[in-house]
Amino acid sequence: MITKKTKVVGISSALFFLAACAGMFFLGQYVQNEGEKLVKQTKEVEDFNMREQSYRELSNLIDSTQEDRSELNKYILTEEKTIDFLSTIEQIAIDQGVELTTNSLHISEETGMFDALTISFSVAGLQQQVETMLQIFETLPYHAFVSDITFQYSKTEGVKMLRGTIELTVSILQHDR
C-alpha cells in the first residue's frame, strides 16, 4: 500500500534525479563555454606573439639594411633635391667651360612610384668640352639618360665649336604614392 512516506520518498528521489541531470547539463555547458574562452585566448596570445615576432623581424631588417638603403637613397632624385641637381648640372658646365642655359623643365606622370623629369638645356662651347660634358651627363649617378641631342658644328679659326640643345630625363621619386 502506498503510504505518505512512500510518496515523499518517491517524489524527493525523482526531484533529486532531475536536479542531478540538470546539474550535469549545466556543468557540460560550463565546460564548453570555458573551452571556447580558452580557444579565444589562445588565439589572441598567438596573434600577439606573431605581431611581436613580425615587429622584431622588421626592426632587425631595418637595422641591417640601414647602410644600403641610405646609400641607395643618394642615387634617387626627389623633388626636394631638384634645385641642387640643377645647380650640379650648371656647375659641371662651368667646370667644363661650356655655356649652359636651362630652357625648360617638365615632369610627366608615369605609373609606379617614379615620374620623369625632363630638362632641356642650350649649350655652346668647344666641341671637345661639350662632348665631355655630355659624357658626364650620361654618367650622372641617378636613373637618368640623355633623351635628345641637337648639335650644330662650326669651325672658327681652326677651332671646332659646337652649339645645340641637350635634353636630360631623370626619374624622380614621388613620396605620395
Binding site: T65, L126, V159
Partner: protein, 135 residues
C-alpha cells in the same frame, strides 16, 4: 456473454500471477533494479559521450608560433646590391670624367716676320754678352 478469448485470458492471469491472487506488492526488486540500472547506464553513456566530445574538441589547444613571413614586406637584397654596384660604377666614372678638364684652346691671331739684318744684330748682341770660359 463471455467468449473463449476472455476465458483463456482469465485463466492465464490466474495461473501466472501468484496462483490466482492479484499481485498487490509495491516493490518489485528486480523491476526496480532494472529501471535503476537502465537510467544509470543511460546517464553514464550520455555523460561519457558529452565529456569525450568536449575532450576531443579542446585537447589540441596550444599556442602555436605563427609564420610572420607574409606580414612583413620582402626585402630584395640581391636587387639592391646589383643596383648599388651599378650606381657605384657610374659614380666612379662620373667622378673620373669630372676630373678631366679640357683646356680652352686660344687661336693664334698673327705671326710677325723678322728681317735678316735684325736677326744678325740680335745674334751679335747676344754673342757680346756671353761669358768667357776660362781654361
Amino acid at each position: 456473454m463471455i467468449d473463449k478469448k476472455s476465458i483463456i485470458k482469465m485463466a492465464n492471469d490466474v495461473f501466472h500471477r501468484s496462483q490466482g491472487y492479484p499481485d498487490r506488492r509495491l516493490m518489485h526488486p528486480r523491476r526496480e533494479w532494472g529501471v535503476g540500472i537502465f537510467f544509470f547506464v543511460l546517464v553514464t553513456v550520455v555523460g561519457s559521450v558529452v565529456a569525450g566530445n568536449i575532450f576531443v574538441t579542446y585537447k589540441n589547444i596550444s599556442v602555436v608560433a605563427g609564420d610572420s613571413g607574409n606580414s612583413i614586406p620582402q626585402y630584395r637584397n640581391v636587387l639592391v646590391q646589383d643596383a648599388l654596384e651599378m650606381y657605384r660604377l657610374k659614380e666612379q666614372e662620373h667622378q673620373t670624367l669630372q676630373g678631366t678638364k679640357i683646356p680652352a684652346v686660344v687661336p693664334i691671331a698673327t705671326t710677325t716676320e723678322v728681317s735678316p739684318q735684325a736677326a744678325e744684330l740680335t745674334e751679335a748682341e747676344q754673342g757680346e754678352g756671353r761669358p768667357e770660359i776660362a781654361n
